[in-house]
Symmetry: C2
Subunit: 411 residues, 2 copies
């Protein structure tokens, strides 16, 4: 993980970076919706070097197929996104996704190939272009530098919180920005890709390094989040770089690149962490920190195994220090290590206790454990005592509401 | 999968096979338990060729370490099993497990190395030998040919139903039997092993073929069950063969071996299926049948991915035909195949409907779908249209009660 000093959190979300405006309107895509914004637009004043990562699921939403095609030249200028319907597994899906791009391009006066598209919601219900077509003029006219929260609202489905962030930092004396919005909150187990996330920056950076930075940051942020182990068909992560900060273009992996990756990591880590915290039905954020692991890969596998265990998640919902389930999840992680060297601690703002070391449970106060685990942010520290690898994974507890939300979602 | 004709279901569970007796008593192992049997014994009148499979979890219960040691010579004559405490991650675990075998051997007048041991329950709490020691005379004195249901009750934890079965068939004109008992019902995702299951037979079969048959049957029965994706630390599967049926010893993979494997498959398939049905909090059994797959391995991976998806499981709890989630789970299965060829049907005793083919959803009656999915046994048929591989996986729905049971289990 790269860390930098010298950056500050900034206002503006996806509009913090120079050149970007955004908007979000109510299109009424899901039957009966007349109150929630469900169509978002992010636009830049110039064509942007753009990199993207998509789901590894073999079932891919039509918007992914169309966006990939439009990204072949490495540039984009706008993204249109709807919630309420995933436009996936529909026989006219690609046609509709192309039409979304075409109508947006026409209204903006730009090339259709410079428009990307994302969709999220129910799989397998046809998406009608009519409600979208009807509000595109309004969507374009309302684009503004203060539009990020509206776009952020428009991409939400079962999310209960907006996930929006921006940072400011300097490169060669020029103020630079990276901002982003993201949505969860079920079917979350990204694999080399993510849920929907849109990152913008005004940094001038080569196409190759923009892509490299995105993959590097994703690897230790979005790919370390699990809400329910289900990898969505529509996971998409975009980063658009306008270059309007007027820094010297980043063309090698020197200090500027390191600073850029650090800032990008901060943005994506915050969005990923908030996505875990806002997992469907969640009452707690669970962070598993594995360290002194044989290597980073092992650390990642173990950390992700712990935050993905239904039994660990259900125990933490009840603030129950059932560390046997944590050990069990460490033990079935698909990696090679010496289980006898492991030490496990539980922590939160209320304190930190050791629950397991030297191959056996330790004596700890159940009362203290309960107090620690009753907090809304829980850390599970796993000291593997066998090397220098480390990783952090984020998850959430498993609650009655997760079942409720997902038993009732479609109908 | 091997199927045989000519066998019949029989009474007696683990005592159906000649030579075996069983018992189950109340030892009071879990604090406050004065009403549920929690200590079981299965014994044979002769030393048995015995084969076993254990959890692949790196954290292994002490009983597994001790049983492996005692099985080095390939023979056993008795198994003692407790519920209420897993005897795992305790610094004196091996000592206690050895003592359980020692006390049993002494009371039975047999060699300690011929006694196997199993434990199930909470991980990481010390298991006291005292309550066990106190009831061993009673446990031994109450051994009987009608003791299988008592032993079966004694190994249950959150199980709500007994899992007990036996079959009778003939080899060279001799009546032969295979019977078994098994327990679930959470932390169920066996991997080359199983939850606790004890199989007995009176068939005379070589050590090598007994072992081979056990692995073959396990692969398409227990290893195709998932309740919650968590692989337990104590999964153990034992088969003891007394040889008292007086059939000609099975020493090659001819017709007798095929018949034996078929009968064993039937016993283990039934126990595995009942374990899925009785998954923690479950209201429905979910069976995913994949066929015309590129190969059996792909069929297995896809079927298991479908029954393991939290989102599929929650939708079926609500009898919601949310087939998009099934497609999603097929799509992220770790296997190579052509997703566009897939056809998905939903079925139960109430009928069968196609929900997906030619890459898109089909028009179906939501009312009919609801009626089909409101049954207690649901089949998901996945026709992969690309070969001759097939598999069946078993799971259950994800309910409020799963969360309730697991949020409250330990304390």
């Amino acid at each position: 993980m790269v860390k930098i000093d010298g950056y500050e959190f900034a206002e503006g979300g996806v509009c913090a970076a120079k050149g970007f405006t955004a908007s979000g309107v109510i299109a009424g895509i899901k039957a009966g919706n007349t109150t929630k914004r469900d169509l978002a637009l992010i636009k830049c004043s110039v064509r942007c070097r753009t990199s993207a990562m998509f789901t590894k699921n073999k079932v891919k939403g039509a918007p992914i197929i169309v966006s990939k095609e439009h990204l072949k030249d490495g540039f984009a200028q706008a993204v249109i996104v709807n919630s309420g319907n995933a436009n996936t597994c529909n026989d006219n899906g690609i046609e509709i996704a192309e039409e979304m791009c075409g109508l947006t391009a026409e209204a903006l006066g730009i090339d259709k190939n410079d428009v990307l598209v994302g969709s999220t919601g129910v799989i397998g219900q046809k998406l009608s272009i009519e409600p979208i077509k009807a509000v595109i003029p309004d969507l374009v006219n309302s684009l503004s530098e203060s539009g990020s929260p509206l776009a952020c609202e428009a991409i939400m489905t079962t999310d209960t919180r907006k996930k929006e962030i921006a940072v400011e930092f300097e490169l060669n004396g020029k103020k630079c920005h990276i901002g982003g919005i993201s949505k969860g909150s079920g079917m979350i187990n990204p694999n080399m890709a993510t849920m929907l996330a849109f990152i913008t920056t005004d940094v001038d950076i080569s196409e190759r390094l923009l892509d490299k930075a995105l993959h590097a940051a994703c690897e230790s942020t979005y790919n370390m989040v699990s809400v329910d182990g289900d990898t969505s068909t529509n996971d998409s992560l975009f980063i658009m770089a306008s270059g309007l900060a007027e820094n010297d273009e980043i063309t090698d992996e020197g200090e500027d690149y390191t600073n850029f990756v650090g800032a990008l990591y901060t943005v994506m880590m915050n969005l990923a962490r908030e996505t875990a915290r806002d997992g469907e039905g969640a009452t707690k954020l669970i962070e598993c920190i594995t360290y002194n692991a044989p290597d980073d890969e092992t650390a990642k596998t173990v950390a992700k195994s712990v935050v993905s265990s239904n039994l660990v998640k259900a125990a933490l919902f009840a603030a129950d220090a059932n560390w046997g389930r944590i050990l069990c999840a460490i033990g079935y992680a698909d990696a090679e290590f010496d289980i006898s060297k492991i030490c496990v601690e539980l922590a939160s703002a209320k304190g930190r206790i050791t629950v397991f070391e030297n191959g056996a449970g330790t004596a700890f106060s159940e009362e203290t454990a309960k107090e620690i685990l009753s907090e809304e942010e829980i850390q599970i520290f796993v000291d593997m005592n066998s090397g220098e690898g480390m990783a952090i994974a984020w998850g959430c507890d498993l609650t009655f509401d997760y079942v409720k939300i997902n038993a009732e979602y479609r109908t």
